[in-house]
Symmetry: C2
């Protein structure tokens, strides 16, 4: 029978083998009462199995509150556990409760982070996965051989539909590929969802009629399920190509239901992620997280960015991009969304470390605030990526390309 | 215009006022570009407002990774921020993105925990809230003036529907009020959901016909939204009174949709909670968390238990119970579910500290493993609570009550 394997980074004041067995027990048939004649069969079918334990460093202070060490030492390790899919089948929420449920409460651990998950082959048939992914999003925007260049409407909240549409017009004419709502805005007092779609899609459709280029706009449909579906349908009817969902705020059951419609590329925003990831020994790492959302059918997912304005290290961002670009079951393609403090100056380093242009690269001020205006800003981003792929440094690219040089002068490190 | 207020426990290497403004900016209209003629009006309508900052202790090591302090000191504080409901209306996911979104990523904080939320009065009309709550769950089980006594089917996973039903029969005859599936089981290879409902409800309905007492069974419907709805309907058609949802695994959009059916009491399981709460300066505290789920319509919610087997302190459990018992808008009643390592010996302390019997008190081994069998186990729990309400200590209650004395001898601290 197929099994799902999960890898955890753990810390425990106890013996590793014992702590691992507590986890496996808590998350499956642990406290077996005797059922006449069947106990051993049940155990071998349904019990979680500790596959491997790799001891790592020991420390003298626990990472998070838990049992006190009798020896004063806390042992860290990488732990692999597996479950038969007979336990949960293809039920994502029950799978999540199994991999990320009560185990975070176990006092025998003073640190526990889910690092990665391996799914068996049959999951590729049970789930449709992303309907568009990298190639699909390229097809919808007609952008090839370079990152899609995107931006976020700012201010996050407060603009009327007409003001938003005016900005979209400016950005479309500047050559942008992608625009998104901020996650703080779905339907506000002065920008009701349907009115914003009407105003924005009129601009986008007109521009597409004129030029053949249809800007992808990710409208934030995050809401209760019925309203999400209504908003999704509104986008489809209006000729839009993308909907945005705040994954953690909406939850996987409703998000998957929306993804299953299959008519729009789904932009997966990961706001709230810091809560689950910021501590090095609590929560979940991105390689595991993004797999769950690919199963659910998300086409684009946020990975933060190199030299970002948030707390995350470049190494972590690189790992996230690499995780997205690694095929699942030879497919289930998802487009990494690079954002946070990006203006193009990070392109050389991003390319150097990831060797990919399969990105949605989002910049805010770097576009709207460019000395030559938004057209110059979009051009500077194209140049940044051309330079990056040519292997140029920021300085070399600035020398070669005028608009990018202006960006460096304005946005580069002083 | 009505506002929502949130209270955060923060830590920052910077000046408190500056850090607070970064949060307010990031989570609303912070990076305002100039929109001719409207900027000030927009700001005053949509900007988050820092309501108060209460400085607390300083420390020399950051709680979680973030910006390095130039002074070597990290200042903690309680911070209150408010938003106009014009920003998100009654959209729970967008509200969550506002209160618990990118703010966890801000490098200017080396600790951030959402402590509490205050909702304006109009939320009481926009949301139906729990349809049953404490009084409704008492009505469905006909249990008054004492806690509902419940148990969890163990082993968590592996039993057939017939074996489960057999256990339910034993427990019903022992006088139990409530039984639940484990969160690891919804539909497994050897216990498909519908078959389990059929087998279990036959026992429960037969017993109710005979005695007038209908045991409440919380079937775990956690799944994708369509399957959850089918499973919910199956329970209703079979005469069941309760469905269980793993809140964090399913997500709030789908959970609310199910709650809105209004035909079953919803048992809200919080597995995964440790990930969001275990670190003292990252995530969310239960008083805030349970309010969101009451808005969504959950009737029962897990609060762990006094002297539990997990990591959580008694103080924290008491705060959680108190949070549940505090009315929202004068109502929105939710029943706190006490579980984890409970066997009755914790009843005196639980009552002493909370002065309530409005609880669903869950015990496992304390019932099935009682020396007189399950009937003795249930009786011992009733006695434990009678003793608790009389103000007896564990020792005094053990002296007075035979079955409870046997529990103390078997399960009490050696």
């Amino acid at each position: 029978m197929e099994r799902i394997r999960a890898k955890y980074y753990i810390e425990t004041p106890y013996e590793l083998e014992k702590a691992a067995q507590v986890l496996a027990g808590e998350q499956s048939s642990g406290t077996f009462v005797e059922i006449p004649g069947e106990t051993e069969e049940l155990k071998s079918r349904f019990a979680a199995r500790v596959e491997s334990i790799t001891p790592l460093e020991t420390v003298t202070e626990p990472a998070i509150p838990g049992a006190k060490s009798p020896t004063g030492k806390y042992q860290r390790a990488m732990l692999e556990v597996s479950w038969s899919i007979e336990n949960f089948g293809y039920n994502l929420p029950v799978l999540i409760s199994t991999l990320q449920g009560n185990l975070y409460e176990i006092t025998q651990f003073t640190g526990l982070k889910l690092m990665d998950i391996e799914f068996p082959e049959s999951y590729s048939e049970a789930f449709k996965g992303p309907r568009f992914g990298i190639e699909g999003c390229r097809g919808l925007t007609q952008v090839y051989k370079r990152p899609l260049i995107g931006t976020i409407i700012k201010p996050s909240i407060g603009l009327s539909p007409e003001q938003t549409a005016e900005l979209v017009k400016t950005l479309a004419e500047a050559g942008i590929d992608f625009i998104k709502d901020d996650e703080l805005l779905s339907s506000s007092a002065n920008s009701p969802f349907a009115k914003r779609v009407n105003a924005v899609m009129k601009v986008i459709n007109d521009y597409a009629d004129k030029t053949g280029k249809k800007v992808m706009y990710a409208f934030n449909i995050s809401s209760e399920i019925d309203e999400m579906q209504r908003n999704y349908d509104k986008i489809v009817q209006s000729g839009g190509t993308c909907a945005m969902i705040s994954l953690n705020s909406v939850g996987i059951s409703a998000a998957k239901k929306i993804c299953d419609n299959g008519a729009l590329a789904i932009h997966g925003h990961r706001n709230g992620w810091g809560m689950m990831n910021r501590h090095p020994l609590l929560g979940i790492e991105f390689p595991a997280y993004q797999k769950l959302w690919r199963l659910a059918g998300v086409d684009q997912i946020h990975v933060n960015g190199i030299q970002n304005k948030f707390w995350e290290s470049d190494d972590s961002v690189v790992r996230s991009i690499e995780a997205c670009l690694k095929p699942m079951f030879g497919g289930f393609s998802v487009l990494p969304v690079v954002s946070s403090g990006q203006w193009g100056g990070q392109a050389p380093e991003t390319f150097r470390r990831t060797q990919t242009v399969d990105l949605l690269y989002m910049a805010g001020g770097g576009i709207m605030g460019h000395p030559f205006g938004p057209t110059g800003g979009v051009k500077a981003l194209h140049q940044a990526w051309e330079g990056a792929v040519e292997g140029l440094s920021v300085e070399q690219a600035a020398e070669k390309y005028l608009e990018f040089r202006k960006s460096v002068e304005k946005f580069g490190k002083k």
